[in-house]
Amino acid sequence: MSHIHFPDGVLPVWLWASGFIVAILIGGILLRFTKKEELTRRLPLLGMMAAVMVLGASVEIVPIAYHVNLTVFSGILLGPSLIFLATFVVNVVLALFGHGGITVIGLNTLTLSIEGILGYYCFRFFWRVLKRLTPAIFLGTFIALLFSTFAMIGVVGLGTSHYEELIHQEGKGIFEFHLSKEKEEHHPGEAAEEKVNLRRFMAIVLPLGFIGWILEGVITALIARYVQRLRPDLLRLKN
């Protein structure tokens, strides 16, 4: 649910352009602080985990349009800096298959990496406190997904005035290209309608998201249990 399946041309230019700039800046800083040898050595693993995330995205639970992300588990395996690059790559590949727009790659990377990075830290924290793998992974995944879904809703909310413009665009003009946040004045009634519409969006997304967080949490915990049984070295857990 945290993945914004936004098509191109829906979000305002300033928003998706900022998403790209912030994502590139964070990516650049993280890569600068990662040792080159370490990065080169772990690149095939990064590619493999990114591929796992892409394949996870292909397993669709049709009635609620949900698919597993496996970002939290990949974050745990790759660590916080590499998961950022992995989510960037995943979003590029998904966009190339028409799964989300190309212009929203930056924003999608930011929201999805929140999931991976937060999932990593939450899992480490709960593991230290609970010392039990299944609840630690479940809680880590649940919290990470909760935050990233709200981050996604925040992004949707930032573009509300732009959707309003699009809705009332009919017959006004052909082209539009604004780099600034400038907008037309709205009547108070229109503003109310805007608010109601975002609430409606949240009313649809949050209950579906809740099912998704539980499902993803359970699936991630079961996967971790399986992996821990066969390859305990991968999760690097100390008792």
């Binding site: 399946h5 936004f6 098509p7 191109d8 041309g9 829906v10 230019v13 890569l31 080159k36 080169t40 690149l43 693993l45 990064l46 590619g47 493999m48 985990m49 990114a50 591929a51 796992v52 892409v54 394949l55 996870g56 292909s58 669709e60 349009a65 496996l70 588990f73 690059l85 790559v89 590949v93 966009a95 190339l96 298959f97 028409g98 799964h99 989300g100 190309i102 949707v156 699009l166 809705i167 665009q169 052909i174 082209f175 539009e176 290209f177 109601v196 519409n197 975002l198 409606r200 969006f201 649809i204 997304v205 359970v218 699936i219 079961l222 996967i223 249990r225 399986y226 992996v227 390859r231």
Partner: protein, 208 residues
């Protein structure tokens, strides 16, 4: 995701004029399509763009099985129906933008082998990013085989039954766990073979 292999097959084996066109030109064309999608707010204009892309899709003899891939993003576009308050103009605008975008990218990928795309991207993007992209794309095909085998094994042994949701969930998760372990093993072998072939932190692509 099974269509991915068809996509790759179409890109490599296709002989149409679009397949023969330079990858750089096709990427520039895709960027133009993207620019139109971002800036155009005119239904007939977007409809015309979609018709052009559809014509190119069929003229380039891209396998029809792939066409469903262009419709997939519509599932998520349905959320906008609720956001817009059921405004027909807005819904049509979004749907056409979705269809133009997805048809454009699928057309690019179905007519251009991915090493050629990455070779062009390698000129403008950091090499580490292009390398990660290349390894991910390659890994998808390695894992796709494992995923298909795991899926068959699960179905043949009755691993997924809606009558037993908890057991099915455990089996599906174990399937993913198996996929991840196989993937990690394959990545370790891949790194070793890359080192043997003289990998020093950069993959060099052959010219177009």
């Amino acid at each position: 995701m099974i269509q991915l292999s068809y996509l790759d097959y179409s890109a490599v084996e296709g002989k149409s004029f679009l397949h023969r066109l330079s990858p750089t030109l096709k990427i520039i064309g895709m960027l133009l399509v993207l620019f139109v999608i971002v800036t155009l707010r005119h239904l007939p204009g977007l409809f015309l763009l979609y018709v052009i892309l559809l014509t190119l899709f069929f003229v380039a003899r891209v396998p029809k099985k792939i066409f469903s891939l262009t419709l997939y993003p519509l599932i998520f576009a349905f959320l906008f129906i609720f956001l817009s308050g059921f405004q027909i103009f807005f819904i049509l605008l979004i749907f056409l933008k979705v269809l133009c975008g997805s048809t454009g990218v699928v057309l690019l990928l179905a007519s251009t082998p991915y090493p050629s795309i990455f070779s062009v991207l390698g000129r403008v993007l950091p090499s580490i990013f292009v390398m990660a992209l290349f390894l991910t794309y390659r890994s998808i095909f390695i894992l796709l085989t494992v995923l298909e085998e795991t899926q068959h094994a699960l179905y043949l042994r009755g691993g997924v039954q809606w009558k037993h949701p908890w057991r099915s969930l455990i089996n599906i998760s174990n399937g993913f766990g198996h996929l991840i372990i196989q993937g990690i093993d394959a990545s370790e072998k891949m790194y070793e073979s890359m080192l043997i072939r003289g990998f020093k932190g950069k993959i060099h692509y052959r010219g177009e």
